[in-house]
């Protein structure tokens, strides 16, 4: 394999892996903050037990998210130095802002929250988790603004003859329509993932009649969160689809494997056969749906892959301008389908647990547990669709992936790093997963509290 292919695999593996942990960090920081707030307002010790129980899951998850995030920032320079030289003027700004404005806040206040239980007053301690949660979401915004610039570059100009872009408006970059649509989509998808974790964890205990005062309530919270956030994620995804149709028509066409421009384009739920534009063997199609998604008009025109490619060849010179169609086609379906399925199952779960009912069927608990895979697969395939659908570009219309790779890095170096990261990450995943399962099985014990110690004791959390 070439340095380019190896570097792409490494970026794909490290990024997908990093994003396994990110959504739960975003969502669970907020959910834990809400639980702690509920405890302080209602003085109900069940909420304290929830806060501590889910807080610990949050921290195990957060640790892996943080350490894999460092790699993300470094590998732009390590593996994609030509990209870094080309875009540093523009792309470096949101990354540096993320570190200074958001990541410092997140890390410092999470430290204060973990260790501050009896060193800070209850209100100040509550504030630390809220600040950390806000820092986390702010951090996501800066990263999505940087990514959105790659999908839909704004606020820049190309300096003729230097092969470099420079920033002309930071405001345009931070209010990029692509970023404004992507952030809510990612944010609510993160809440769906969090809801899925609450459902799986709580259902496991409810099935065993453990600590129902905590886990029945947690289950209902998880189901409601998954349903509500799932609906908003679908709506924001729909808004993104229309932006994508105008900003990256190739990606829209590749999502459906639509080769020729059509009016009243149908949307296939499932296709058997090759997706290379020849006649498919069998498919289930919904008439007019693709036109409706892309243009809000059932008879609207959706451009086809061949037509877009011809237009690009005219604009950017001869070359291949389509992504790997089976990847985009199936990633798009899995993202939307699995995400919607999670929301539908949550709706059914809410019905089955109405008015303090506890379902008896073993199927309820099996689905609740294994359904956890749905939102995780949906967020993963969502990113695979977004990033693979942009190919062959790293920065749409400006720089291709092949032009982005580091000049001085050898294939053997990348083989070493790819191996190290893959093995290290697999090991971390196994350990973190094992620790979480172990913690979950221990349940949420009644919190021991010491009434009115005169001097706050030093805190040992590690």
């Amino acid at each position: 394999m070439t340095v380019l292919e190896l570097s792409r695999w490494q970026f794909g593996i490290t990024t997908v892996y990093h994003f396994i942990f990110v959504p739960l960090t975003i969502g669970l920081s907020l959910v834990v903050a809400c639980m702690q707030t509920a405890w302080l307002i209602r003085k109900d010790p069940v909420y304290l037990r929830m806060t501590k129980f889910f807080g610990k899951i949050f921290l195990i998850n957060f640790a892996v998210g943080v350490v894999t995030g460092i790699v993300q920032e470094f590998q732009f320079g390590m593996n994609w130095s030509a990209y870094s030289q080309f875009v540093g003027n523009v792309f470096g700004a949101p990354l540096a802002m993320e570190a200074l404005l958001a990541f410092f806040m997140e890390s410092t206040f999470i430290g204060l929250w973990i260790f501050g239980w009896n060193r800070l007053s209850p209100r100040v301690h509550l504030a630390t988790i809220w600040v950390a949660a806000i820092g986390t979401s702010l951090s996501a915004y800066f990263i999505l603004a940087a990514n959105s610039w790659m999908q839909h570059p704004v606020g820049y100009k190309v300096i003729p003859g230097t092969h470099k872009v420079v920033l002309t408006s930071i405001w345009a970059l931070l209010t990029n329509s692509t970023a404004l649509a992507a952030w809510p989509h990612v944010f609510f998808a993160s809440l769906v993932v969090t809801g899925g974790v609450l459902i799986a964890v709580c259902a496991w205990h409810v099935a065993r009649n453990n600590q129902l005062e905590v886990f029945r309530r947690g289950l209902r919270i998880g189901l409601a969160l998954t349903l509500a956030a799932g609906i908003v994620t679908a709506v924001t995804g729909d808004i993104q689809a229309r932006l994508m149709d105008s900003q990256q028509p190739m990606k829209m066409a590749a999502a459906e494997a639509l080769y020729n421009t059509s009016d009243s384009a149908s949307f296939s739920l499932f296709t058997i056969g090759s997706l290379n534009g020849s006649k498919e063997l069998w498919s289930i199609r919904v008439p007019d749906l693709l036109s409706l998604i892309a243009t809000l008009n059932p008879h609207g025109t959706v451009q086809g892959i061949n037509n877009v490619e011809a237009a690009y060849a005219k604009k950017y010179g001869p070359g291949q301008y389509k992504p790997i169609i089976p990847v985009t086609y199936w990633a798009f379906r899995l993202m939307a389908g699995l995400g919607l399925l999670a929301a539908l199952l949550a709706a059914a779960g809410l019905w089955l647990t109405r008015r303090r009912r506890i379902p008896r069927s073993r199927w309820f608990y099996r689905v609740a547990l294994w359904g956890l895979a749905l939102p995780y697969l949906a967020t993963t395939t969502g990113w695979i669709f977004t990033e693979m659908g942009r190919q062959p570009w790293t920065v749409f219309g400006l720089l291709t992936t092949a032009q982005s790779v580091s000049a001085g890095v050898t294939a053997s170096s990348v083989i070493i790093s790819l191996t190290v990261f893959t093995l290290l990450y697999a090991g971390l995943a196994a350990i973190a997963g094992w620790l979480m399962v172990r913690h979950v099985k221990e349940g949420a014990p009644v919190e021991a509290e010491q009434p009115g110690a005169p001097e706050p004791l030093p805190v040992f959390q590690y």
Partner: protein
């Protein structure tokens, strides 16, 4: 002073902050197996940096992000050039980062001993490699006309680079020993003092030789002054540590690290990443920097938000200023449940 030079100084400030802050938590990690004789003692040591190590590490990410934004060519050449060295640092930081969180989660001696070894390795390796990297940056590395690094990992392991590595390793260890003297009590504090004395015997001569060699081959009058002050601060800090004045000793080693970074960056200027192949191929403050507009935007962001960051990080250090001792761990009780009004939870975790 132009904006590019302002950013060069700001990046030096970020690296100083990183070395002063993560420097001591690297030191604590390195000393962990030597100073902590049982699990309780090692828990005390880990908990001295528990609330702050993650915030300390963000200084590195900010330095990286600032280099990307302000000097994209420097970022691109350095990070791709030092590929395998950075891989080692990243792997070490990854392992070390999860260690702190994972170590406490299972109450088994074997589990904890494994993580203790990982904390040691994950702290010692970057402590050494940052010095190797910075010494090589000052010395100059083979760069071609496109500013692409043409050496390999072994190119960096020259005697001057390795000397630089030993300097950061010993300085961070000393800095960590002094920090532990400030944050512990009793027997641990006495051991930390002994460790500081021992490490100082290595750190002082190593740093003095490194600074002298650096100034002879790359020095300027202004950096001769900072290098001399760094040496004075280090000797003063070591002397204070010897006399048990931990506060002053910590100020001394912190100043040493700041002044040493100032010396190295001062020696570099106006280069940022000098080429040993030909001076014409060097990356400089001017040919590596971003365009004016990006620098203006980032300057406003830095001027407004750096004080905010310093304020809340300072507050966090203030909150956790209390000394820790093994007897505090034994004070866990399980009294009856009560409402949030009387909340003085002992944590319930172990």
């Amino acid at each position: 002073m132009n904006l590019a030079t302002f950013w060069f100084i700001l990046i030096a400030v970020l690296w100083s902050g990183y070395f002063v802050l993560e420097g001591f938590d690297f030191g604590v990690g390195i000393l962990l197996p030597f100073l902590g004789r049982d699990d309780t003692e090692r828990r005390v040591l880990v908990n001295t940096i528990g609330p702050v190590w993650d915030g300390n590490e963000v200084w590195l990410l900010t330095a990286g992000g600032a280099t990307f934004a302000a000097f994209p060519l420097w970022y691109a050449s350095m990070f791709s050039g030092f590929y395998l060295a950075l891989l080692l640092i990243l792997a070490a930081l990854i392992v070390r980062g999860v260690c702190f969180e994972f170590r406490s989660k299972v109450d088994s001696p074997r589990w904890r001993a494994s993580w203790d070894r990982a904390i040691f390795a994950g702290s010692a390796l970057p402590a050494l490699l940052w010095g190797v990297a910075f010494a090589n940056i000052v010395r100059g590395v083979p760069l071609n006309a496109q500013h692409v690094y043409t050496g390999n990992l072994l190119t960096l392991l020259n005697w001057y680079g390795l000397l630089g590595g030993l300097v950061t390793l010993s300085l961070f260890t000393l800095h960590g020993a002094i920090f532990l003297g400030l944050r512990t009590t009793g027997e641990l504090r006495r051991r930390a003092k002994r460790a500081a004395t021992g490490t100082a015997l290595a750190a002082v001569p190593l740093a003095a030789i490194f600074l002298a060699v650096t100034q002879v081959s790359h020095g300027k009058p202004a950096t001769d002054v900072t290098a001399a002050l760094a040496a004075v601060a280090l000797i003063g800090g070591a002397a204070a540590a010897l006399r048990g004045r931990e506060g002053w000793a910590f100020v001394g080693t912190a100043l040493t690290l700041v002044l040493a970074v100032a010396t190295l960056f001062g020696d570099l200027w106006p280069n940022v990443f000098p080429s040993s192949t030909s001076a014409a191929y060097s990356l400089t403050v001017n040919n590596a920097s971003s365009a004016h507009y990006t620098l203006v935007v980032m300057s406003w962001v830095a001027v407004i938000f750096t004080p905010v960051v310093l304020a809340y990080q300072g507050w966090s250090y203030w909150v956790f200023r209390q000394r820790l001792s093994p007897s505090d761990i034994g004070s866990k009780q399980t009294p009856p449940v009560s409402g949030p009004d009387t909340m003085k939870s002992v944590g319930g975790r172990s």
